[in-house]
């Protein structure tokens, strides 16, 4: 039995580059290549696609990537694990099996992990007294959105992935397993860890390493505050984890690839999108990020050790998506001289148009692009001549409405500025109104979630 397992990070989101995954598979000597494709925003998009076509709802890249990689993966004995099934893992698994057959890869075993979709169990949970309190807002008025609910996916642990791997799967495709479960699953499987007190720290370490690499190039120089120092980011290497039986690990990448792995790039990702670092809560366990030690161990090698943790929480996060009206948006730009003053006057004009058009909006939001779009009240205005002499300023308007017709009034009002507004204004193509799926995150008892695994064979 191996003492070190090598896992590669094949993607950090739906839309990530595929060439670094190909390079990793070719040169990384990997036991597993793992893919995180999901984000809360992604789940809402996928749900919209599935509602238009029941055969959709998985991440298209997830199927395309498997198609590209599976011949080499079969040859090398690298297993591919992803959560790219999104809201329709069954359709994804079937598409992968079809591709395997077309590629002449008969005997390819594809494990399908389901069970995160709890849309049909919502009323049973409510009836059983689950409060469904919104974790973000504290609201317990779930009844107010019940009729508009379109999706409900629980963040599930790696149990199903482990079962699929134990069943001999070459490829595992799941729905909403947690981002780092795609790394935890292979390690639990390989090292035969039990979910008991003796293994709590090792599972916490696997969760931590999963967190470090789950956004792929975001720990090899991508998004880095030191991006200017990063070599060849256009051919960045995705990370590799060399995970040891004792729970320690090294993060590295393919020699010669772009980017860097050093203690700083690892720190940057450790602090990314977490809550309390002492309690990084995942369905597989709780990791204490303040317990670990980082040590640079040669070029592009960082040793991670000492992670402590606690057993998995009793509750799982359920993210419920519900229809919540529409967003209408417009954008136009004004040139020097007096660009800012023109933008201010154009905002006033748009507000007058909204009144004349009888716009009914829940919220109206304006930004001065180039001034306060990103930091809002946190960004001070330039003063005096500097403000008057800006090269250009944009005016962005976004409005939330109950209906598509109302949202469309924003596009119309902005279009009216074509000749009703300030001279010299530059307009791009008008933007279409878009429907909003809002999220209602809540906590539910684990017993409502039953993962199921099925192995399909090509």
């Amino acid at each position: 039995m191996k003492d070190t397992i090598r896992l590669g990070a094949g993607s950090g989101f739906w839309g990530d580059g595929m060439d670094p995954a190909v390079e990793l598979l070719r040169e990384g000597e990997l036991d597993y290549l793992c893919f995180d494709f999901l984000a809360e925003l992604t789940m809402a998009l996928l749900q919209r696609q599935k509602s238009k076509n029941p055969q959709l709802g998985y991440v298209p890249d997830a199927v395309q990537t498997m198609k590209t990689l599976m011949p080499m993966a079969r040859e090398r004995g690298t297993r591919l694990v992803s959560n790219g099934g999104g809201v329709n893992p069954r359709a994804a698994a079937q598409a992968i099996v079809t591709d395997a057959r077309a590629l002449g890869l008969g005997g390819t075993r594809v494990a399908l992990v389901e069970g995160d979709d709890l849309l049909d169990k919502i009323d049973a949970m409510v009836a059983a007294g689950v409060p469904m309190t919104n974790m973000d807002t504290g609201s317990s008025d779930f009844a107010s959105i019940r009729s508009r609910v379109v999706s409900a996916n629980a963040y599930t642990d790696s149990t199903g992935l482990v079962e699929g791997l134990a069943g001999g799967a070459h490829i595992v495709v799941a729905g909403r397993v947690s981002d780092n479960a795609v790394y935890v699953g292979p390690l639990v499987h390989e090292f035969g860890w039990q979910r008991d007190a003796a293994h709590v720290d090792r599972i916490a370490s696997a969760i931590t390493l999963g967190h470090i690499v789950e956004c792929a190039s975001a720990c090899t120089g991508g998004m880095s505050s030191r991006f200017a120092d990063m070599p060849h980011m256009g051919r960045v290497g995705f990370p590799i984890v060399e995970f040891h039986r004792d729970g320690s690990a090294v993060v590295t990448k393919v020699p010669g690839s772009g980017g860097k792995v050093d203690a700083f790039t690892i720190k940057e990702h450790l602090v990314y999108e977490i809550g309390d670092p002492r309690r990084y809560l995942m369905p597989d366990g709780i990791a204490d990020f303040t317990s670990l030690a980082l040590r640079e161990d040669g070029t592009d090698r960082v040793h991670v050790s000492g992670v402590r943790g606690q057993a998995a929480p009793e509750q799982l996060k359920l993210v419920i998506g519900y229809q919540d009206g529409w967003i209408g948006e417009s954008l136009c730009f004004f040139p020097w001289p007096h660009a800012y003053a023109r933008a201010v006057k154009a905002r006033e004009t748009m507000l007058e148009r909204f009144e004349r058009l009888g716009l009914k909006a829940d919220q109206i939001h304006f930004d001065f692009v180039g001034i306060n779009t990103l930091h809002g009240p946190g960004a001070p205005l330039p003063e005096g001549a500097a403000l008057d002499n800006l090269n250009e300023v944009g005016l962005r308007c976004a409005v939330r409405t109950r209906t598509a017709e109302e949202a469309d009034k924003v596009r119309r009002a902005a279009t009216h500025l074509w000749i009703m507004g300030p001279g010299g204004t530059s307009f791009g193509t008008p933007m279409k109104a878009r429907p909003v799926v809002s999220l209602w995150p809540t906590l539910i008892p684990r017993e409502f979630v039953r993962q199921t695994v099925e192995i399909l064979e090509a």
Binding site: A39, E40, L41, A44, M135, D136, T137, M223, S225, R226, F264, K267, E268, H269, L270, V271, Y272, E273, I274, G275, D276, P277, R278, F289, T290, S291, L292, A293, L294, G321, D324, I327, Q363, H365, D367, V369, T373, L374, H375, G376, P377, G378, A379, R396, A398, V399, R400, V436, V437, S438, L439, P441
Partner: protein, 104 residues
């Protein structure tokens, strides 16, 4: 000359629902002590005005010389419904670098 956090640390931020999470990482061990003095929930709230509506938490990480800032109700409703362009708060955290350094 007043120093700003941009002189002593780096930042990465992102989203979790309507929560913006930001990690400030000190450039040196000495800078970490300064960072701890210079950031607290009141300063963060004051900086962002009505863009951060909920509670702010600051969690120190002595082992990697970082402070994790968690801002609740800070993304205008969260990525899928916010009217802001920076839907997931990737840019929002950088404003923290404007906070003045509190010298010893």
């Amino acid at each position: 000359m007043t120093r700003l956090l941009s002189d002593i640390c780096y930042i990465r931020s992102g989203d979790k629902g309507d929560v913006c999470t930001a990690g400030l990482i000190a450039r040196t061990p000495e800078d970490y002590a300064t960072l701890l003095r210079s950031v607290d929930p009141q300063k963060v709230r004051a900086l962002y005005g009505d863009w951060v509506q909920g509670t702010v938490h600051c969690y120190p990480m002595d082992n990697i010389h970082a402070v994790v800032v968690v801002m609740e109700r800070a993304l205008g409703g969260g990525a899928t419904r916010t009217l802001r362009l920076d839907q997931t708060g990737k840019a929002l955290g950088h404003a923290l670098l404007r906070l003045p350094v509190v010298e010893a």
